[in-house]
């Protein structure tokens, strides 16, 4: 009964393994015609943009590319992105495990409401995700004066960037684990307890090995989104070069300065991360046996 609403992560790709007995009867013209159309569409909409990034990045040669990537502002942006993801992902990981444990191993009132609430961040525009923290922590926000009196900066500083990243990546690990743990039931854990295991022993020896690939899957998606988030972070960052500029924001700044080679060079770094993510995603789908589902 778990709700499956707006998702930033499309469900995993399954592939039919049944022999194509009937499809084989499709006339070859139809088969190849439709295949060509579909591949053409994928080429136009997906491959071409990806290729463009690398072509534009190297348009002015490898030297310009390397200079753009090695620039201090770029290095600072890489560091900030890694720090923000490095804080946001573990936070959502712990939440995901706790929420999935409560929701899948126990029956309680309001369980389905809780599952639906976890998905809310996927239905919220990234810009609104940033806005909510400005309304709470900003200069005119609920806690604005209190924070200003204590000289604590949240908005236009690292805490705001981390909060916005946490918000947009909030459901990834939780929803992955909820789907997985729901299908696993509670019998193995109950057996461990009957045999005398403590709660933590049960968790480390039974639950964790059972969910490790699904957990990793959620973490991969969560990390990719955390490194690439633009809208939410853009609202809370203040765009201070070398200080509150994440990698995607740095791409925007360089682009708006008409430094296209630089913008695409930095973008190519993020594209490599995206391609690695796709590879890891496929690998983990194979590991969790999604393909055969």
């Amino acid at each position: 009964m778990s709700a499956m609403p707006i998702s930033s992560a499309p469900p995993a790709a399954p592939s039919s393994i049944r022999p194509p007995s009937y499809a084989a009867q499709d006339p070859a013209v139809v088969r190849w015609g439709l295949t060509a159309l579909a591949l053409g569409a994928l080429g136009l909409f997906i491959v071409l943009p990806l290729v463009t990034i690398f072509v534009e990045a190297f348009r002015k040669g490898a030297a310009v590319y390397l200079a753009a990537v090695r620039q201090p502002d770029t290095i600072a942006a890489i560091k900030l992105s890694l720090v923000a993801a490095g804080i946001a992902v573990p936070l959502n990981l712990v939440f995901g495990v706790a929420a999935a444990w409560a929701v899948t191993k126990f029956q309680f009132k309001g369980r389905n409401v809780l599952i639906s609430l976890i998905d809310i961040p996927f239905a919220v525009s990234p810009v609104v995700a940033g806005l909510v923290y400005v309304l709470v922590f900003g200069a005119q926000g609920w806690l604005g004066e209190w924070l200003a009196a204590r000289d604590i900066r949240v908005i236009f500083a690292l805490p705001g960037i981390v909060l916005a990243t946490v918000f947009v990546t909030f459901p990834f690990v939780a929803r992955e684990l909820i789907a997985l743990m729901e299908s696993q039931g509670t019998e193995e854990e109950e057996a461990a307890l009957v045999l005398g295991a403590t709660g933590w022993q049960m968790f480390y020896k039974i639950t964790l090995p059972n969910i490790k690939w699904g957990l990793l899957y959620g973490v991969v998606l969560c990390t990719a989104r955390a490194l690439g988030e633009f809208g939410a972070v853009s609202v809370v960052s203040g765009h201070i070069r070398g200080e509150t500029n994440t990698l995607p924001l740095h791409v925007e700044i360089l682009y708006n300065e008409y430094n296209y080679a630089g913008a695409f060079a930095v973008a190519s770094l993020l594209s490599v991360v995206a391609v690695i993510t796709l590879g890891l995603k496929k690998f983990l789908e194979w590991k969790t046996g999604r393909e055969s589902r």
Binding site: A3, M4, S8, P10, A13, P14, S15, S16, S21, A23, L34, T35, L37, L39, L42, F45, I46, P49, A102, F106, Q107, F108, K109, L114, L117, D119, I120, P121, A123, V124, S125, P126, V128, L131, V132, Y133, V134, L135, V136, V166, F167, F170, E190, L193, A224, G228, E229, G231, L247, E252, Y255, Y260, F264, A267, L270, S271, A274, V275, L278, K281
Partner: protein, 280 residues
């Protein structure tokens, strides 16, 4: 004690209360309380002011663009996504696994990166734009550009919604229809399409909902011309830059209500399609 057993079914497994309390606390602090700030801030001004903000011509134009372009892009994603899912499920061809993996690229690629890549492709000197320009079709810095970016974003949602259902569809039904003399087109229209329709609708709704809030991939290709190619999320950013928090919150509240309505619709759709699968 009695209240507890009413609240949840007894279980021998440990850790319910710590896990449950932590999850609810974290959810409230990160998501629910901050989100409520949008509605409280929007409500903190008078109705007159609120109405004036969301009925301003540029705001109305941005709503029209956001909803209109998302609708068109959702439909385009539905058509192209259905075709891609069909080919990936039913035909064999070299490079199929790669094509299947690439479908998720719009999800994995940061939106700002997608935005500048699409812009460079569709400007008049770009690889695609230069062939469209002689035909009088302008994409970059027009509403059509907004639709192109949103279609890019929506495509994976349709493919990944349709693919499993198409893969699970019972081939015997088709064979039975064929043996009873149905033509291929009749089989598609009367047998296959009704099975896939709920999943296609779900995919469309997911793509539409995501497109409504999309920001990064759109703002580069749209050119952000006032009254013409400004999307609603951009106006929220503009209001914030002018320190008009209440105005930003008002625009955001309308968007949130719309997104939640779509979300509820998707849930209802999925419940209905599950019922369909169970009974049929």
């Amino acid at each position: 004690m009695r209240r507890r057993t009413n609240f949840r079914r007894p279980s021998v497994l440990p850790g319910f209360w710590p896990a449950f309390s932590y999850a609810v606390l974290y959810l409230s602090l990160i998501v629910l309380i901050p989100l409520s700030a949008v509605f409280l801030k929007a409500a903190s001004t008078s109705w007159g002011h609120l109405w004036k903000t969301i009925s301003a011509p540029n705001v109305v134009a941005s709503y029209e663009l956001s909803f209109g372009a998302s609708l068109v892009a959702g439909l385009a994603s539905a058509v192209v996504g259905f075709l891609v899912a069909w080919v990936l499920v039913r035909y064999q061809f070299p490079g199929k696994a790669l094509a299947d993996a690439l479908v998720d690229l719009p999800f994995a690629l940061p939106t700002a990166v997608a935005g500048i890549a699409l812009t460079s492709l569709y400007t008049e000197s770009g690889w695609v734009g230069r062939y469209l320009a002689p035909l009088g079709i302008k994409v970059a810095f027009t509403r059509l550009g907004v639709v192109v970016a949103l279609t890019f974003i929506g495509l994976p949602f349709v493919v990944r919604s349709v693919q499993p259902v198409l893969g699970d569809a019972d081939r015997e039904l088709e064979e039975a229809a064929a043996s009873l003399g149905a033509t291929r087109w009749q089989i598609f229209r009367r047998v296959i399409f009704p099975i896939v329709r709920p999943a296609l609708l779900t995919g469309f709704a997911l793509a539409f909902a995501r497109a409504l809030g999309e920001y990064g991939s759109v703002i580069f290709i749209s050119g952000n011309l006032p009254m013409k190619t400004e999307i609603a999320p951009l106006l929220i950013v503009t209001k914030l830059e002018q320190y008009d928090y209440a105005g930003a919150a008002a625009i955001a509240a309308v968007m949130l209500v719309a997104s939640f309505a779509v979300l509820l619709g998707v849930n209802a759709l999925q419940r209905r399609s599950r019922g369909f699968m169970e009974t049929g």
